[in-house]
Symmetry: C2
Subunit: 214 residues, 2 copies
């Protein structure tokens, strides 16, 4: 388990771990029992030495000349990624994107529990966004966070809204941010963990590539 | 304009272009008239020489010792990213995520036009997902694409669905993919442009970082 590993794993390796998880889950579903580092590398578009290095960071799991047992890999990587501790999340912003993300969190995201959702619009407040999750007034956010200590805030609001709500969340001790706004929290706040999702950026890049025949 | 530039711009630069666009749009909104490469670099968390190199790929726009005029930068980068040509898009999958993305495409994404939406569920077919956009049966997808020649397909379906629908889209000549499924189209098909959005990956990375006190 990660808590027993002596060294911190580098960020690029951590960022690749979900991809390993997806590929190895698929292999497991398809009944593949063993895989070599070069086969895994080929599927993932990387090199065998990269694969070996990456998996070594987490304690290895493989044997030279034999490769990796898919079930062992899957269970070790699952332990790393999900562990026993569920992360409590609050959603800020229950517009179109917020609703979609709440559904994603409750149905597809392993290891997270959506505790509450907040919005400032009177039309949203009081609505049931998920079974048992009623949208609250964002004015209650500070008290709620102090009382329930969520681990993660999911920001599905515009940049200005995110900027306004960030001090409340940070002061209340929320450490993790899944950030769909374009407000860059990590510039202003230390000691928090932020994953930015810039939906628009990928769409702009795609547009550029399409129009310029790349 | 990009079509006049003699050399192809490298992919990492293209990927950074939307970020320049976001920061420079903000400066423009905030009334900032001029900016040096080092100020811009500081805001964006990069180096001045990186900024100069990146902007040089697109023809420069700056003057030594004077810096960049924000309005010129914004208009040149906007031309690069959006140009005059609107990209016609079709949405495949009108579940929670698809609905959110359709709203995003119609309200926030510049340079795209959602022509049509498709789903296989009888409960979805015939529903109006956006004003004037009725969800069609995915069985009509091939004929529709051959007739209307969309530029981009937005895949908001699970991996298996994406794998099933990809040959139809590629054969019909659709060249661009905004891919929320975990099916890696670019492995199987050449001569297409794919932007993958792996929502789950960022959530898994966040979880790992949170649980391991990074």
């Amino acid at each position: 388990m990660a808590s027993q590993s002596p060294n911190k794993v580098s960020l690029p390796v951590i960022k690749r771990l979900p991809k390993y998880y997806r590929y190895i889950s698929d292999m497991h579903k398809n009944g593949i029992v063993k895989i070599s580092s070069s086969e895994l590398a080929h599927m993932m578009g990387t090199t065998a030495s990269q694969v070996r290095q990456d998996l070594n960071c987490f304690g290895g799991f493989g044997q030279q000349g034999i490769g990796y047992h898919v079930d062992v890999l899957l269970s070790e990587i699952s332990k790393l990624l999900f562990s026993e501790r569920t992360l409590d999340a609050v959603l800020i912003g229950t517009g179109r994107l917020g609703r979609a993300i709440s559904g994603y969190l409750s149905s597809e995201a392993r290891g997270y529990h959506l505790m509450a959702a907040f919005d400032k619009s009177p039309a949203e407040i009081g609505r049931e966004i998920l079974p048992g999750v009623i949208v609250r007034d964002v004015a209650e956010l500070s008290d709620f966070c102090k009382e329930h200590q969520p681990d993660v805030a999911v920001l599905c609001i515009p940049r200005s809204g995110a900027q306004a709500v960030a001090p409340t969340l940070v002061e209340a001790g929320v450490k993790g941010y899944w950030n769909f706004s374009h407000y860059d929290l990590s510039v202003e706040y230390d000691d928090i963990t932020v994953e930015n999702v810039h939906l628009g950026d990928s769409l702009m890049s795609l547009g550029y590539l399409m129009r310029n025949d790349h």
